[in-house]
């Protein structure tokens, strides 16, 4: 998963980014002002956007309206220092999916963003199930047939992303775009490495294969 944090307080943005990277294994980009945030949101496929309201250059409300006007349906979590009812209602009405008032709890922010991403991809439970494979997105554990499977961080991230969209063809480019942040060099062959590792670990004990390759298109996770 890859999220964008649009927040002008660098310290706060850095803390949130660190928390998402460490506790959720997300790729995180940070934009320091509204214009930058809008540009990044429009040019990268984020799974969620965390948007501060008081931003230099372009305020958060404006960024939100422009995003929604350009048919971007990425879930948006608004971070605001104001908690007046009217402004909250106005925010939700202009396309925000959820909001938190500062100062907020990082754990709550994490949980809410995870829920937003889950819902955005059509999943209700934090435990994703594909056939006999179970992926717990809360403590980031994977089990198949009650057997615990230990994955590397990157392997987990690939699996979690694919498990959010079971039966759909996921291209290498899509995986690269959703698993790495802006500052990473993207090499598509690393994906092949993670996929082969995943296949090996998931199929241990002669279970039926779960990850299928569609030549020239990508991969599909399905039982």
């Amino acid at each position: 998963m890859r999220i964008l944090i649009v927040e002008d307080e660098e310290r706060l943005a850095a803390n949130i980014a660190r928390s998402f990277r460490e506790s959720a294994g997300y790729a995180v980009d940070v934009a320091k002002d509204g214009e930058d945030g809008l540009f990044m949101a429009e040019s990268n496929p984020y799974d969620a956007i965390l948007l501060d309201l008081m931003l230099p250059r372009m305020d958060g409300g404006q960024v939100l309206r422009k995003l929604r006007a350009s048919k971007q349906h990425t879930p948006v979590m608004v971070l605001t220092a104001r908690d007046e009812k009217e402004s909250v209602v106005a925010l939700l009405n202009s396309g925000a999916d959820d909001y938190l008032t500062k100062p907020f709890d990082l754990g709550e922010l994490l949980a809410r963003v995870k829920a937003l991403i889950r819902r955005g991809k059509g999943q209700a439970s934090p435990v994703l199930a594909v056939g006999d494979l179970q992926i717990n997105t809360v403590d980031r554990t994977v089990r198949r047939n009650q057997r615990s499977i230990v994955l590397t961080a990157m392997e987990y991230r690939v699996l979690e992303y694919m498990a959010h969209r079971p039966r759909a063809v996921v291209s290498k480019t899509e995986l690269l775009e959703h698993l790495y942040d802006y500052n990473w060099e993207k090499f598509s062959n690393v994906i092949e490495v993670y996929i082969s590792g995943l296949r090996r670990k998931l199929n241990k004990g002669s279970a039926a294969p779960l990850i299928h390759t569609y030549r020239g298109q990508g991969y599909v996770l399905q039982p």
């Binding site: 250059r57 220092a81 500062k102």
Partner: protein, 471 residues
């Protein structure tokens, strides 16, 4: 505390003046009637006296006394109680009315008309001297040619008429007094209705509802208009300062939330998983920085509140003379580090011996806040100029930078609390937008003014005028 009623007072005043008027009217009426009746009585008295005198004639035969035609005396006059006495010099009494009392004496001299009492009844008497005897043809040299006539008539009838007139006028006055009082009560009650409307309208005003439109009825009353207008402007000002306070509180809460959010996120992300001691140390150092930032903000807000309290005169202090130039020097010294970091220079051009009554630290804070802004907006390699000079009876301090300038539409806003110029630049530049607000509050607390002069691309001049200490 006893309350007084304008209405009651007005009515009381009205009744008192009306009553006084009525009394005056009664007195004047009675006096006038009395005078008129008395003058006609006097004319009558004179005529009757002359009439009696005309009844005296000389005897037909010499040697006889003067003759008085008793039968010709008006019986009606006698019946009404008239008294007369006719005397002649050297002869004595010629004639007397039948009821003439022995003890009645109206001596010669004094006024012709006079008051007397006969048997307890008030009389008006007339004494006429040297009335010629009309019967001249028969004049007898041995007898006198003139008479003295005394005629008196009772005043009872006249007094009764005067009394009646008095009672009549008094009754009429009372009736009119009653009517005017009723009219006054009604009129005053009606006249004061707009005041009630005004009070009713004013009673609707509250911290949630500030709309106050003085009722049209009150606007149309000349005496109420100043009151209504004063209330309107007073409420407007109250509303403004209330809103300002509320906004300040809202802004303060808002501004406090962000540093608190940063601090909280720093600590929480530090606690998310076990970390190395280096990581903990870095996290704690960060937390400390966050706390310092919070502290700075709080200090700024407190300073502003304190400065504004002085500005509104709630705190009186003993102030000493301060050399303005030296406070500028101290402020510049304190900002050298920041200036060097921005590769900007600060130059001071100061006249010596310019004294103001102020707290040195406060003045220094004003210069620090102005300079901090100037330095932060200064492009690399430019100079911030500070000039201290005497200007009329003011000490004038000008802080001038070669920064990007402030757009005209933003100029009036720069002293507002938590205002931060174009926020794209200022966030990087830092600060909470309290510096200029504090500077302004402090300068105004010492009776000075602060005027910004700026145009985009031409830098900014902050001009501070402070009253000189002339002693």
């Amino acid at each position: 505390m006893p309350t007084s009623s304008i209405r009651r007072r007005l009515i009381l005043t009205m009744v008192l003046t009306q009553a006084l008027l009525a009394a005056g009217l009664v007195f004047t009426g009675v006096y006038y009637t009395h005078q008129r009746l008395q003058s006609s009585l006097d004319a009558n008295l004179h005529a009757r006296a002359m009439g009696v005198a005309a009844l005296v004639r000389y005897p037909e035969e010499p040697g006889h006394p003067l003759v008085f035609e008793n039968s010709l005396v008006s019986a009606r006059d006698l019946a009404s109680g008239d008294l007369f006495e006719v005397t002649a010099p050297g002869v004595g009494v010629v004639a007397r009315s039948p009821g003439w009392p022995q003890d009645l004496e109206i001596p010669a001299g004094g006024k012709a008309y006079r008051k007397v009492k006969v048997a307890g009844i008030p009389y008006r008497a007339l004494r006429l001297e040297k009335v010629p005897i009309l019967d001249r043809e028969e004049a007898v040299s041995s007898l006198p040619s003139t008479l003295t006539v005394i005629y008196a008539t009772p005043k009872v009838e006249m007094n009764r008429q005067v009394w009646r007139a008095g009672v009549y006028i008094a009754l009429a006055s009372l009736i009119f007094l009653g009517i005017t009082v009723l009219l006054a009560v009604w009129g005053i009650r009606r006249g004061l209705l707009p005041l009630q409307d005004l009070a009713l309208e004013a009673s609707h005003v509250s911290a949630q509802h500030w709309d106050f439109k003085s009722p049209r009825e009150a606007e149309l009353v000349a005496e109420l208009r100043p009151l209504a207008e004063a209330m309107e402007t007073m409420l407007h000002r109250l509303h403004q300062s209330f809103e300002q306070q509320r906004q300040f509180l809202g802004n303060a809460a808002h501004e406090l939330k962000t540093p608190v959010a940063i601090l909280k996120s720093t600590v929480q992300s530090l606690l998310q998983k076990p970390r190395t001691s280096t990581e903990y140390q870095a996290g704690l150092t960060q937390s400390l920085e966050d706390v310092e930032r919070l502290e700075n903000l709080l200090q700024g807000m407190l300073r502003l509140a304190r400065a504004e309290q002085w500005a509104y005169g709630t705190l009186k202090r003993n102030l000493e003379s301060v050399d303005v130039a030296s406070t500028c020097e101290d402020a510049i010294e304190g900002l050298r580090g920041l200036a060097n970091a921005h590769h900007a220079d600060i130059k001071l051009n100061a006249e010596d011996g310019i004294l103001c009554r102020a707290d040195g630290e406060d003045l220094q804070l004003v210069w620090i806040n102005l300079l901090e802004n100037a330095v932060r907006y200064s492009p690399e390699g430019t100079t911030v100029n500070v000039k201290v000079a005497r200007n009329d009876h003011k000490a004038r301090v000008v802080v001038e930078d070669q920064g990007p300038g402030i757009p005209a539409e933003e100029l009036p806003l720069i002293f507002e609390r938590f205002h931060r110029g174009d926020s794209s630049r200022t966030r990087e530049i830092g600060g909470f937008g309290l510096g200029l607000a504090i500077a302004k509050a402090l300068v105004e607390a010492y009776g000075g003014t602060i005027t910004p002069e700026s145009a985009v691309g031409q830098g900014t001049r902050m001009i501070v005028d402070l009253p000189l200490n002339l002693n």
